[in-house]
Amino acid sequence: MTTTGLTPRSSIWRSRRFHDAIVAYAFILPWVIGFILFVGGPIIASFVLSFFRWKMIAPPRFYGLTHYISMVTTDELFRISIWVTFKFVLISVPIGQVLALGLALLLNQRIRLLGFWRSAFYLPAVVSGVAGSVIWVWMYHAELGIVNNGLEMMGLEGRNWLFDREVVLGSLIVKSLWNVGIPMVIYLAALQGLPQQLYEAADIDGAGEVSKFFSITLPMLSPAIFFNVVMGIIASVQTFAEPYVMTGGGPDNATLFLGLHLYKNAFSFLKMGYASAMAWIMFLLIFGLTVFQFRLAGRWVYYEGGER
């Protein structure tokens, strides 16, 4: 025991701190347990499994890198599924973001019935992937669907939207655009938080609407754009319900998404090892695209008051 007057206080402080740390660990314990059982453990298991051939019936057999090699050499469907997924992500994410931002800009004008318009655009976001897909299957129906009948009314010729390999991926992309509600609301909130002084200053400088949009609105929105693009990519790489319900991957594998190919290998053919290897490729794809986004972000994302 020392004799300085500060010691009792600091030891109380230290014991409170120690006590807090114990409590904190107790509080985060649920997440730690859940992580080990349902995320961390399975990730390691999936990685190990990807080097084994295992069809659930016979015991697993070591397979080395064979799964990863056969992905690029023999499994043509894997290459197709990567290509389909890439095309979908590269087209649907940018168009979706432009649409979400466009709708948010419309809602940010001084308009009447804001609640109605906002609800109309947001509503599809609460509809499940399966129910939404079922509705769109019916929309796209070749003879009875509203899409073809609507086109016919306008004197245009329809297509068999879900059974024509040339247009089927486009049909799924259009369906995905229906679900832009969440990024739209994020853009709207970001727009409403923009400082008005910047626009007033631009007005004094005589800036037009277009130049105000590109030199104020867009840079100020860049954190929101960045967030939405990253989340959009993570979600769309994993697209599953839409191809499962609407096309089953067809016609002619034109909508065989990576998620669907993986699901079929795991649960139709029970190739657990191979499916795990593909899951890791999907993980690396998401990881790579996300890291790429973060790298790119330094160049175009503007953080107000941030050092970047």
Binding site: P30, P42, R110, V130, A131, I146
Partner: protein, 314 residues
């Protein structure tokens, strides 16, 4: 300007920010500005109406078909208003049975069990974890928090196969447990959202309770949770929609129709009923999305706040 008095409020409402400022050419510009303002207004409303039409058309098409008598589904060109309106389609869709399958409300009950469990357990566990990150100091805090956030990148596909094997070994496949237990341990996204919200609650509330001798647990239960009702509500509505709509989880776990959830039932519908009765299919789809639609209409603010509670400046 004949309509000078009228133009003032109108242009102002259109967002012509410069209007009120004196300008050399003010009188000259006023009429011009009114015209561009009017054009702008027309364009905005035209775009809004077009977009709303396109976004609501699928809902209308579903409702229209769901209310048609079966023979009208196949008439060409399709009719825009069902006559007579068959409200009974909903009852048929809700009670119909395919061969030995259970009626649809069995799936609704299963879905409800999974969703309610999911909402209650994920909120409570996520809030507990979030509280530790918002208020307590402990070694490794930042690293663990980053770890939690990085799990957002992990696709379900990576953990799907090992999880499936765990449940198979436990003999719990084809039960609802695998769809419930994993959510007792918090979810990364909800932990993040709730931490952000807890950090906005002034620390004085904690300190006051602490000086009164309350434990951290009591502060969490009695102070933080009651003050966080809006955030908890926002997380709850999102969680409900997520669990209600989940598809891949039930798809890999459940195999007998008695245990199906609504999304599984709907995905299997056209397979089970050959020659798809579209009017019943759409009625079933509508029944399935209705709880989420109702939830949205009654808690719009929670939905809108829930998304934007995050500080996106990171």
């Amino acid at each position: 300007m004949v309509v000078g008095n009228e133009t003032v409020p109108t242009t102002e409402r259109l967002g012509s920010e410069r209007y009120t400022r004196p300008s050399r050419m003010r009188t000259h510009l006023l009429g011009n500005r009114f015209q561009t303002g009017l054009v702008r207004l027309l364009v905005i409303y035209a775009l809004l109406i077009l977009a709303a039409f396109l976004f609501l058309l699928p809902f209308y098409w579903m409702l229209n078909t769901a209310l048609k008598p079966s023979n009208q589904v196949f008439t060409l060109p399709p009719t825009w208003i069902p006559k007579p309106v068959m409200w009974s389609n909903f009852i048929t869709a809700f009670t119909m049975q395919y061969e030995t399958d259970p009626p649809v409300y069995t799936y609704a009950i299963n879905t409800m069990i999974v969703s309610v469990n999911g909402v209650v357990s994920t909120i409570f566990s996520s809030a507990l974890v979030a509280y530790a990150f918002a208020r307590l100091e402990f070694p490794g805090k930042n690293v663990i928090f980053l770890g939690i956030l990085s799990t957002l990148m992990i696709p379900f596909a990576v953990v799907m196969v090992p999880q499936f094997i765990i449940w198979q070994r436990l003999g719990w496949l084809d039960t609802l447990w695998p769809l419930m237990i994993p959510h007792w341990f918090g979810s990364a996204w909800n932990i993040f959202l709730l931490r952000q919200f807890f950090m906005t609650i002034p620390r004085e509330y904690d300190e006051a309770a602490y000086l009164d001798g309350a434990s951290r647990w009591h502060i969490f239960i009695r102070v933080i949770l009651p003050l966080s009702k809006p955030a908890l509500g926002a997380v709850a509505v999102f969680a409900f929609v997520f669990f209600w709509n989940d598809f891949l989880g039930p798809l890999i776990i459940l195999s007998t129709p008695e245990n199906f959830t609504l999304t599984l039932f709907l995905a299997n519908f056209s397979v089970a009923y050959r020659g798809t009765p579209w009017h019943l299919y759409m009625a079933a789809a509508l029944i399935i999305i209705l709880p989420c639609l109702i939830l949205f209409f009654f808690s719009q603010n929670a939905f809108l706040k829930g998304i934007t509670v995050t500080d996106m400046k990171g």
